[in-house]
């Protein structure tokens, strides 16, 4: 009889048998063959997508077996005003700095590409051996390729009066986070 003309290719892939079908009074949107073919392709793509998504998600573990980040760093009076203490550098990779107004802890990871800077007491600066980034005692960068200051980590006082440092909680000066009360211990509280 009257074969409905396939106008799909003319319309750029969008099937328009509605016209032809409508012309015949069928009222269908798609031919069954095209619908099942599209549905099957869609189902295959969806399954592949879920599979790829599962593999990608699998590569990000929820639990990391890394040592606990919080530790007790002794009593505030063990730290001399105006000095950078390297006591916890080897074991925890933090410097504890005390000045007249506060006690804070700097994370010993260079903000350039992750090496461990050195504290040069004679020149009062932190200097990274990898690419020469330099920071003041406050942690602010002033030379070298590093784009931002060293990060400070959370310090607080425990019930027994010891300083508790948590290297997992970090504060960035360039985001204004150094004024956060968790980023320092004021001298008045000591």
């Amino acid at each position: 009889m009257d074969e409905p003309k396939r106008t799909g290719t003319e319309q750029g892939g969008e099937r328009a048998p509605a016209e032809a079908a409508g012309a015949e009074g069928r009222g269908t949107i798609w031919y069954r063959r095209e619908f099942t073919s599209l549905a099957a392709s869609g189902a295959i793509l969806a399954c592949l997508g879920v599979g790829v998504g599962a593999v990608v998600r699998q590569l990000f573990p929820r639990v990391l077996f890394e040592p606990a980040t919080a530790f007790k760093a002794g009593y505030p009076n063990e730290y001399i005003v105006g000095e950078v203490s390297e006591k916890w550098m080897k074991s925890q990779r933090v410097w504890i700095v005390r000045n007249e107004t506060e006690i804070y802890a700097l994370l010993g990871i260079c903000t350039h590409l992750g090496c461990t800077p050195r504290w040069l007491g004679a020149e009062a600066k932190f200097k990274c051996p990898c690419h020469g980034s330099g920071y003041y005692q406050s942690g602010v960068n002033f030379e070298g390729p590093t784009p931002r200051p060293l990060e400070r980590v959370k310090v607080s006082l425990a019930d027994d009066g010891q300083i508790v440092v948590d290297t997992a909680v970090r504060f960035r000066q360039e985001l204004g986070q150094w004024t956060d009360p968790q980023a320092f211990i004021p001298s008045s509280a000591v």
Binding site: L59, F60, P61, L64, F65, E66, L113, G114, C115, C130
Partner: protein, 261 residues
């Protein structure tokens, strides 16, 4: 065909190729006819990627410098020596460094195998550049060979990634810090890095971003070593092999090695 061959051989060896078992494995005889010469390549599963006959100009050293072939040869050397090393190396933080020391100083020919692996790896990277230079200088990237050049660039990237992942495996200071620096660069990736443009907006955090995908943790540690080991020994070699097959195939399809443009 077997009779003309055996007339020249001593009778003792005649039975070697004249029996049912031999012929069931090696289906074609070794008589030197043009047909047999072609069949030995075309009907062989390992060799039939190669053309059965090539033009004389294809073997001109001055044109190709053998650079591509040497790159592939060095790749095969790294694969073979790598497999040999795998019998002794354990990719854990506890054992990696000591297993490499054991390979160097205790395992017979261990130092030779390790050094061959390293030299072949360096040599492969160098020869890839020589090959790229040659292809560029001879205009062998022009149509219809443009896609093959693109495949070659992807192969270059895979080779450099193989070098990067392999560098971590000895687990010494040089390795750990080099990979620390390298993976920290991944933090600056656009869209996927926690410090890159548009990264934090898309939800990338230091815990879930392109860097932590590589390091499998917050620092370069034991999970990183295992992940790099799998990348270095399984994922990247398979990807490189697949693309090499495509690369060699395209050479033939596009007109043959050092064929006219």
């Amino acid at each position: 065909m077997a009779e003309t061959a055996t007339q020249k051989k001593p009778s003792r060896l005649a039975g070697v190729a004249n029996n049912y078992v031999w012929r069931s494995i090696f289906r074609h005889g070794y008589a030197d006819t043009p047909r047999n010469r072609v069949l030995q390549v075309a009907a062989n599963v390992w060799l039939h990627l190669h053309p059965s006959k090539i033009r004389r100009h294809a073997v001109r050293f001055r044109f190709t410098w053998c650079a591509g072939g040497l790159t592939f040869l060095l790749y095969l050397v790294t694969v073979v020596t790598g497999v040999v090393l795998m019998f002794y190396y354990r990719p854990t933080a506890e054992y990696a460094y000591w297993d490499v020391k054991y390979l160097d100083f205790d395992v017979p020919f261990g130092m030779l195998m390790r050094n061959m692996h390293r030299w072949a790896a360096h040599g492969m990277v160098i020869y890839i550049w020589v090959h790229m230079l040659r292809v560029f200088m001879t205009g062998s990237y022009k149509p219809p060979r443009e896609f093959n050049w693109v495949v070659g660039v992807v192969l270059l990237t895979l080779t450099l990634l193989l070098s990067f992942t392999g560098y971590l495996l000895p687990w010494d200071q040089l390795a750990i810090w080099a990979v620390t620096v390298g993976t920290n660069m991944a933090r600056a990736t656009p869209l996927l890095g926690s410090e890159g443009p548009l990264g934090p907006e898309l939800g990338a955090s230091p815990r879930y971003d392109a860097r932590s995908l590589l390091t499998a943790g917050t620092v370069v540690g034991a999970p990183t070593l295992l992940r790099f080991y799998v990348l270095h020994c399984i994922v990247l070699p398979i990807a490189a092999s697949v693309l090499m097959i495509l690369h060699f195939w395209r050479v033939r399809k596009d007109g043959g090695i050092s064929g006219p443009l």
